[in-house]
């Protein structure tokens, strides 16, 4: 049976070895930028400007970090964390409420509402950032962290994702809760919420990373130096002193390492969240 199977599947050992070799080479290529960021942040200016590359920092130095923290880098880190956590909490709360209603309630306007959400998701997010800038100036929120948080919460992807998860809740359980006399909110928090927890976890991680990476929005909305986020700060520093790569790599390390650590720790939820979002794309 076993030999018949491998014969039928028609994969030669040569091809398998070839595939593995290519995959490993690609893996090195994909890991390398992160490696170069981290090692680069520990190299002194002489090493960085030397004509030959130093594959590993032989005389590691902290001078880049010292320079980085002469900038309000800690404030930038704090800003991006506030933005990401704020967006995450608000998105998970509003999206799980709305996704549950869209999946499990029968009401007027349900079809059209869902269509609007799908259409909005297909639009380029960045295009509305320019009018958003004007809207935020009008309501006096420009150059505040809220100007980045609020539009992130409004983006309908979370609602779509939570609807997908909420659809798996058996209607009988909701009926049973109703028969037992539980009100709407009670049903949501003690029955629905625990059942869609994996979905909320996925949405939380997804929102966090996407918000962290939404450089365009941060660049447009946050102007004064102490309001910048860490990615924005690195980008703007790079514009101001484009040749000081050691300093820039120190900033990039500070921005990349925490989120890579979070990703590796929660990898399972992460991949789950990404694949759930596309079930009925």
């Amino acid at each position: 049976m076993n030999s018949a199977k491998s014969k039928l599947s028609g994969t030669s050992t040569g091809y398998k070895v070839f595939t593995i070799v290519i995959l490993v080479l690609l893996a090195i290529f994909f890991i390398f930028p992160l490696y170069w960021i981290i090692t680069g942040s520990f190299k002194d200016a002489a090493t960085i400007n030397a004509p030959n590359p130093q594959w590993f920092p032989l005389n590691p130095t902290l001078e880049n970090y010292a320079k980085l923290f002469k900038q309000p880098a800690f404030q930038w880190l704090l800003n991006i964390i506030i933005i990401c956590v704020g967006a995450l909490v608000l998105t998970c709360l509003t999206a799980s409420l709305a996704g549950y209603a869209l999946a499990k309630k029968r009401f007027y306007g349900r079809g059209i509402l869902f269509t609007i959400i799908i259409c909005a998701m297909a639009l380029p997010k960045q295009v509305i950032v320019i009018p958003l800038l004007q809207e935020m100036s009008m309501i006096g929120l420009h150059d505040t962290l809220l100007a980045v948080i609020l539009p992130t919460v409004g983006w309908p992807f979370g609602v779509f994702l939570m609807k997908q998860f909420a659809e798996t809740i058996p209607t009988e359980i909701l009926e049973a809760a109703r028969v037992d006399g539980a009100g709407e909110l009670r049903t949501f928090f003690s029955v629905v919420f625990p059942m869609i927890k994996p979905g909320i976890g996925a949405l939380a991680i997804f929102t966090f990373v996407n918000t962290w990476n939404d450089y365009f929005m941060q660049l447009i909305m946050l102007n004064s130096r102490e309001m910048w986020t860490l990615p924005e700060g690195i980008a703007r520093l790079q514009g101001e002193m484009s040749s000081d790569f050691g300093l820039i790599m120190a900033g990039a390390t500070l921005a990349a390492v925490p989120i890579v650590a979070v990703f590796i720790a929660f990898q399972k939820y992460f991949t789950q969240g990404i694949s759930m979002g596309a079930v009925k794309g």
Binding site: L26, W36, A278
Partner: protein, 313 residues
């Protein structure tokens, strides 16, 4: 495992009846359900309307105005912004570059991620997770961090690439290589999500069909095209659409690496919109370009849906 078809039928995949969603509900119940549904939707709708729908409408309205920083002195100028756009050589160059990026990046990202996923989805769980992680790494490292390290590696004087190859080429400053470098970096930051999606989709392919085909003597290639490919079609479509949208919006790479230069060789529509709004303060013109970009993306998505539908028979 697939001997008993009963669970598959009972597993909730029963087709929804085409009757009204309200069948079997009294009028009072429908009203009560509608009210409670909108209470659940309200918080989300406030954000959605306030920060997605309203800016969309503003974008459209402002595209007919000649407007600078001072909103009060804006003038209605009809379609002038749109007319100007199509006579603007920088816009046309930006459109061309954007289309080049999309036409190169979207098929290569899709094909490459499908190849990687097919190679890794049957591996041991640990190996599979490892590769999936690795290819997702540029996404979580962050756009800005990845871009600045590539900028250093491409640097003429102390960049790794010139040092390794012993060359003195100005990769990002030469119009003939700048766009290619940008597409390459875009590629590395774009394939993470498609690979995760494809690995999940390939894992869900009905194994009984695959085995049946193999017993009937189908080759590996036939199994792929006749059985797996149709089943992962929805995933492919989703990947095409999201990759297209992302590639059309290519901005951070341009702004950080070349600022549209040299001589507009790497201008994209998104970068030109930013430049017009943020540096030149011509908000009416920037919004008009935004409207056109949205329309172009909508057309591309619609075509992809159409093609995928007919492909599926």
């Amino acid at each position: 495992m697939a001997q008993n078809p009963a669970p598959a039928v009972a597993g909730g995949k029963v087709k929804k009846q085409k009757r009204s969603q309200f069948s079997g509900m009294s009028k009072a119940l429908v009203r009560r359900e509608t009210i409670s549904a909108y209470m659940f939707l309200l918080p989300s709708l406030i954000f959605f309307v306030g920060f997605v729908v309203i800016p969309m409408i503003m974008c459209l309205v402002y595209s007919f105005l000649d407007m600078g920083l001072d909103v009060g002195s804006a003038k209605f100028i009809g379609l002038s912004n749109y007319v100007e756009m199509f006579n603007d050589p920088v816009f046309r160059k930006g459109l061309l570059n954007t289309v080049i990026i999309v036409v190169v990046a979207v098929p290569s990202v899709t094909a490459f991620s499908l190849w990687v996923s097919s190679a890794i989805y049957q591996m041991k769980a640990v190996t599979r997770s490892f590769f999936r992680c690795v290819f997702y790494l540029p996404v979580v490292t962050g756009t800005v961090a990845v871009t600045v390290v590539w900028k250093w590696m491409f640097n003429t004087y102390n960049g790794l690439i010139n040092q390794v190859f012993g060359s003195t080429h100005n990769w990002l400053g030469d119009p003939s290589t700048a766009l290619a470098c940008i597409i390459m970096i875009l590629f590395t930051t774009s394939i993470g999500q498609p690979i995760v999606l494809y690995v999940a989709a390939l894992g869900n392919v009905d194994q009984s069909l695959v085995e049946a085909a193999q017993v009937d003597g189908a080759t590996k290639l036939q199994v792929f095209w006749k059985i797996k490919w149709p089943q992962i079609m929805p995933t492919t479509l989703y990947i095409l659409v999201i990759t297209t949208i992302n590639s059309f919006q290519c901005f951070a790479l341009i702004q950080l690496l070349t600022r549209g230069g040299p001589n507009h060789a790497t201008d994209t529509i998104m970068y030109y919109i930013f430049d017009m709004a943020y540096n030149v303060h011509r908000f009416g013109y920037a919004n008009a370009m935004g409207v056109i970009l949205a329309i172009i993306i909508a057309i591309f998505s619609a075509i992809q849906f159409k093609v995928a539908k007919t492909d599926n028979g």
